[in-house]
């Protein structure tokens, strides 16, 4: 209950406050090339996205191959062995 409340308050109050204090500054910005910043961000995030994709899909592939019934290492679970559920 308290954890849930904390998460909701965090999302509604704390994060926007941090954003306001740190990001909404009135100080002038510096000259920069948007193309480099934005495309650079895009490529970095694509690397992250494909890394996560590889981890998740790789785990699923390993799981399916390792725990298939025909795997030589496969052992029946205690429920399957006893025939009782």
């Amino acid at each position: 209950m308290m954890i849930g409340l904390g998460i909701v308050l965090g999302l509604l109050v704390v994060l926007p406050s941090i954003q306001y204090v740190l990001a909404a500054g009135d100080e002038p910005g510096e000259y920069l090339d948007r193309r480099i910043e934005i495309w650079g961000l895009f490529y970095r995030l694509m690397i992250v996205a494909f890394t996560i994709g590889t981890i998740v899909s790789g785990t699923i592939v390993w799981l399916v191959l390792r725990f298939r019934e025909s795997n030589p290492k496969a052992k029946p679970t205690e429920y399957e062995a006893s025939g009782k559920w």
Partner: protein, 143 residues
């Protein structure tokens, strides 16, 4: 499940959560950097209407369908619309901002290469949306 070890699951969760935190922090940081306008940026008022773009410089000069700017200078666009929602896009300079009636949205850029670049509406705004275009002319200093 006694004796079951679940440390690989915690490593898995840790790696994915760490990567997601990195994504959030990095995106937030770049957005913060890109949104800060340099103090000497020249303001250009951009008005979208079905189906053309109008530009007004600080000195009052108006342009329709063409925008002339100087290479290496900073420009802040104040984008609005007269009728429906449009979206102001200079693809080659990664400038994209919605033009909303009754609102002024801002975006800035500093062109680094001289030349001609297409400007295109990126929000479907009616029959001639596909042809709601303009041209950005980036000129060398003193040209």
């Amino acid at each position: 499940m006694s004796g079951h070890s679940n440390w690989p699951e915690w490593v898995y969760i840790g790696v994915v959560v760490a990567l997601l935190c990195y994504v959030g922090a990095e995106a937030w940081n770049i957005e913060r950097i890109v949104e800060h306008v340099p103090a000497d940026a020249e303001v250009i008022k951009v008005t979208g209407q079905q189906w053309l773009w109008t530009f007004e410089h600080e000195d009052g000069t108006k342009e329709i369908g063409e925008l002339h700017v100087e290479k290496g200078k900073a420009y802040k666009f104040e984008v609005t619309s007269k009728d429906v929602i449009h979206s102001f896009n200079i693809h080659d300079y990664v400038v994209l901002m919605d033009a909303v009636p009754g609102r002024i949205n801002t975006v800035w850029f500093s062109p680094g290469d001289a030349g001609e670049f297409p400007i295109q509406c990126r929000e479907y705004c009616g029959l001639i949306h596909y042809n709601m275009r303009a041209t950005l002319f980036v000129e060398d200093k003193g040209a």
